[in-house]
Amino acid sequence: MRRSVRYALVLFAGFPALLGAQGFGIYEQGACSMGRAGTGVAAPCSDGSAIFFSPAGLAGLTGGRATIGVTLLDVEGGFTDDILQQETRLDDPFLAIPQVYVAYGVTPKLGVGIGLFAPYGLQTRWPLSFDGRFSGYDNILRSVYVQPTVSYQVTPWLSLGGGVDVVFGSVELNQRLDLADAPVPTALGVPAGTLFSQFGIAPGTDFADTHLEASKTTVAGHFGALFKVNDRLSFGARFMTQAKFDYSGTASFTQVPTGLVVPADLTVGSLTIPAGCPIDALLTAPAASCGGIGLNLFNPSAGVFRSQPVTTTIKNPSQMALGVAYKVASGWTLLGDYQYTWWDSFNELDIVFPQDASGALSRKLFERYDGTSGFRFAAEWMKDAKWTFRGGYLYHGGAAPAETVTPLLPEGNRNEFTAGATVKLSRGLTADLAYQFIRQNDRRGRTREALFNQPATTGLNNGLYNFHAHLFGVSLGYAF
């Protein structure tokens, strides 16, 4: 059993993607709900995904349900810069997001369950030729929620449910460092704040590769209510609390050769760097070819770019959904959900290197996201006891303000279309299939962060991000 739990976590470790909800939210938590455009807080699917979509929806369950599913993602996107009109394509791999739900009706009024899902996360991978590599070329944010849930039918028309989320979070950031943007150590006799670019180093001169990795486990809560006005009409609501991660991890640095050479004797302050000195050598230990001058930046015990602790705080925001479901007739059900996510809690990102006395490494990223609304609509047709078909549409706004559309998360307003079907394979076995197309509006953005930890402005925007994705969901459910 312990082994299988560990395997499940490993599966989830591969899930992140830039997906179909605002910010770095992910809403594709089951093939049935995916076909419904994520609606269902008022009438959840019977596959156990109510644990996420409507925690009160487990009440009234007969017997047990176990569902395992996967969503396959083909993400396409890119950035076209203003001046050269050259497009760089996202390099995201074909991804798979698994889901697992187990639910059981203990009594006609009491339902329990446990689910593993991932409502927040992202992965954006860019080629190393992309100018945005200095903001991050392979960024992964993982949040795996394990949610034991209890639901109780308080009255025939009201059910309440809730669960505690144990959230396993991790973050990984890979980026290049641009020598042009790096400050020249004052040991060379230059005024503080002098940048290598002032010696002519061209923007886009990689000199170090940074890998930041941190993890943290935290706790959140998830609550829901379901109102059945009559056999046809129901309303639902759910609220998931914020999950705050005080990440602590390690940053490691690897030197990247620039291949540059000082072309003529260079007098800097009281020092003279001789012609022929390789700049890569100048950045490391003192070398004869550089007149005995060396900045020791990569010294493993004392260099600025030694491996060292790093901390940051990221909040998965609270989210709320309100929904309605109405059984029209002849097996037809119409569903509509409104979702609000408090993305304004994703305001600033402080990446702190507590052991870096120089202060050169710590960064403050001003994200300044806005709260967002999502509107989801779906129709479902239960053709017969074997087949059920569904389709939907959703729209949501972008969380990132115009000045924060970056390689880390180039998101924006999205229109999404879904279709799906459930087929009963045998008495206890059910399969769900779903397809979702995500079309994000093209959006102006930037490839670089503002220097000196300053807030960014739209003046830094230098091109256009585009994004779309095809999602395929499949799940198998077993009733017991």
Partner: protein, 421 residues
């Protein structure tokens, strides 16, 4: 009814989707709107100190912004970045180096106090790429070569600009980043300028052989062809460097001795050789050699200018320099013709300048009283067309060059680039 609603909803969704697809207006408008403007969307200028904006043996932003490619790009209406050198007098930053303000002192007086740093470094606002990739000291080999790949260019003090202006990359490498649609190339002046600027003996022979120049220039042009983005260009010929006011004909010194009793100029300074109906090769005296003689004589110390000295450019060396430039320009013109690019020979313009002694002085305007220089010796010692170093164009000449290039481009490409602003 239900089906109709679904169709309406579907239609609305498709309309939203279609609207999302038309985002072209989100791009910053780039293409100049005048006739033929598309060709100038991304303009790159190759060259040396003249193209970089170097004046009075100095470089800073106040000069760079007056360089002909910057003015031309402004007329073109195209985004154009150059590697700005700090010019912030309030911060004691005057250039790299700061330009000369008075060339007759020893050493020449430069802008700013003596304590100012010799190089004020680049502006902290760094452009994403460079359109003006020219750097002072560039010859045709250095356009092609990485800094240390063989054959190595002869080391020079100006090599520092390879780092300060180009970040240690070549002009071709920096230009390729821009995916240029139009280029101007003015290279080759430094393949002959050593003959007049090099202070060592026998410098008059310091020229790149024409065959070598031609091979390198053609290799450079082949590299440009490999970009695959260039729609057109203008190649500028090499100037007859003996026409620069930094060198004076020996006969000018001979005439000047009449006003300076303690200076003797030997008759060998009158030597010359007719070349064509319009060109004649003379003996040429570089400023760095002739000026100290004049200064000493003016101070009452008798001195003699002997034009057989190896620091003076002999008639034979001048003939070689002039002939070499003619061959350079034939190769450059041939490269332009082969690509149907525009070609401009700057020498007819220089000849018109030379005919006006206010523009190009045949003999430097030495200050009558070095302790109290007059305005001409301070502001235009070599004439209005040249800066205070006698080699590089003045601001007004840079502007004139831009205007001539604009006219040539418009004629050759049937374009309508507006006048230089």
């Amino acid at each position: 009814m239900t089906h109709r609603r679904i169709l309406v909803a579907g239609g609305l969704s498709l309309a939203l989707l279609a609207a999302a697809c038309h985002e072209d207006e989100l791009f910053t408008p780039l293409t100049p709107s005048y006739k033929g403007g598309a060709m100038f969307t991304r303009y790159v200028s190759f060259g040396n100190s003249i193209t970089a904006g170097f004046q009075s043996f100095g470089l800073n932003d106040s000069l760079q912004r007056l360089a002909y490619p910057v003015l031309l790009a402004r007329a073109m209406g195209t985004t154009f970045y150059y590697p700005s050198i700090n010019y912030v007098p309030t911060a004691n930053l005057f250039g790299c180096p700061s330009p000369i303000t008075f060339i007759f002192s020893n050493p020449p007086t430069r802008l700013g106090p003596p304590a100012a740093p010799p190089c004020s470094l680049r502006s902290p606002i760094i452009p994403p790429y460079l359109n003006n990739v020219a750097f002072p000291g560039a010859d045709v080999l250095e356009l092609l070569n990485t800094n240390y790949a063989p054959p190595q260019p002869t080391p020079a003090a100006t090599d520092a600009y390879k780092l300060f202006l180009l970040g240690g990359r070549t002009e071709l490498q920096r230009a390729r980043e821009v995916l240029p649609t139009f280029v101007t190339v003015w290279i080759g002046n430094n393949d002959v300028s050593g003959a007049i600027l090099d202070t060592s003996a026998n410098a008059g022979t310091d020229v790149t052989p024409p065959a070598t120049f031609t091979a390198r220039f053609n290799a450079f042009m082949d590299s440009l062809d490999s970009f695959g983005t260039i729609q057109g260009g203008l190649l500028i010929g090499v100037v007859q460097i003996t026409g620069a006011p930094y060198v004076s004909q020996g006969r000018a010194y001979f005439a000047a001795q009449a006003a300076i009793p303690t200076m003797t100029v030997l008759p060998n300074c009158l030597a010359f050789q007719p070349l064509t109906a319009t060109d004649t090769a003379f003996v040429y005296v570089p400023f760095h050699y002739g000026a100290p003689i004049v200064a000493r004589a003016a101070a009452g110390v008798a001195d003699t200018l002997d034009c057989s000295d190896s620091h003076v450019i002999s008639v034979a060396e001048a003939v070689n320099i002039i002939g070499t430039v003619v061959q350079y320009n034939a190769a450059i013109q041939q490269a332009a013709v082969a690509r149907d690019w525009a070609y401009l020979d700057p020498n007819p313009i220089l000849r018109t300048f030379a005919a006006d002694t206010n523009r190009i002085r045949p003999f430097p305007h030495f200050p009558p009283n070095p302790a109290a220089p007059d305005s001409i010796s301070v502001n235009a010692p070599f004439g209005n067309a040249a800066s205070r170093d006698g080699v590089h164009p003045s601001s007004s000449t840079q502007r004139l060059i831009a205007q001539i290039l604009r006219d040539s481009i418009n004629v050759h490409y049937n374009a309508a680039i507006p006048p230089i602003p």
